[in-house]
Symmetry: C2
Subunit: 111 residues, 2 copies
DNA sequence: CTGAATCCTTGTCGATACTG
DNA sequence: CAGTATCGACAAGGATTCAG
């Protein structure tokens, strides 16, 4: 764990971004949370193929690096909501660029 | 291999982008080639820590997906130059977004 | 429902040696 | 110089089980 801990921040800004979101699952988690706050189960269902272990790991990691908020409701059955912090929301710029590029690339493919 | 082969293109544009450049090394290769055309050895030296095997794999893969051009000079000793295709160059938008975001994040860190 | 803990499979990567 | 081939180490991820 602690891949994101801010000890020795890479020199290159791109590497910083990579460290925080340069990961398939993290990018998709951000995509989901950019739309709306979601519960753990909703995220799991939305991210087809992810195991709850990996989802938990990534959410914790993103919480540590200040991208994600975790709100626990003291009730039975448990309810935990995840949302993006301000910093996390600012990743929408990167996300949008990826979205647009992917869309263009798609159009260029010989169907 | 063939992670990039265009068989079943994901529905979500973001996933397409992820498939093509959502990888630490690929992103850094693109960063390098956005600056200038480079020879194999130059790339290897620039990307500290990468093994030549992995570098070759990624370059091949990016060539397959149409992001990178490979130009071989028939001479001894061999000389191979890598550059970005037009599609590859268009990734600069994504790269810039990542660069800027990483830069901002860095500023926000408690030094 | 959320999530911690185990086990175990898989593939990615690094190191090394060898070739045109 | 620019690869290919092989091997082994290691970590990421999946499946399953158990708990609050």
């Amino acid at each position: 764990m602690n891949e994101n801990v801010i000890k020795t921040l890479p020199k290159c800004p791109v590497e910083i971004t990579l460290m925080l979101m340069g990961d398939k699952w993290k990018t998709l988690i951000i995509r989901d949370l950019l739309k709306e706050t979601k519960r753990f189960g909703e995220l799991k269902k939305s991210l087809t193929g992810i195991s709850q272990k990996v989802l938990t790991q990534h959410l914790r990691s993103m919480e540590e690096s200040g991208l994600v908020n975790r709100k626990v409701y003291a009730q039975i059955p448990p309810k935990v909501e995840y949302s993006l912090t301000e910093i996390g929301k600012s990743l929408s710029v990167v996300h949008d660029a990826m979205y647009k590029w992917g869309d263009e690339y798609k159009k260029m493919q010989p169907s």
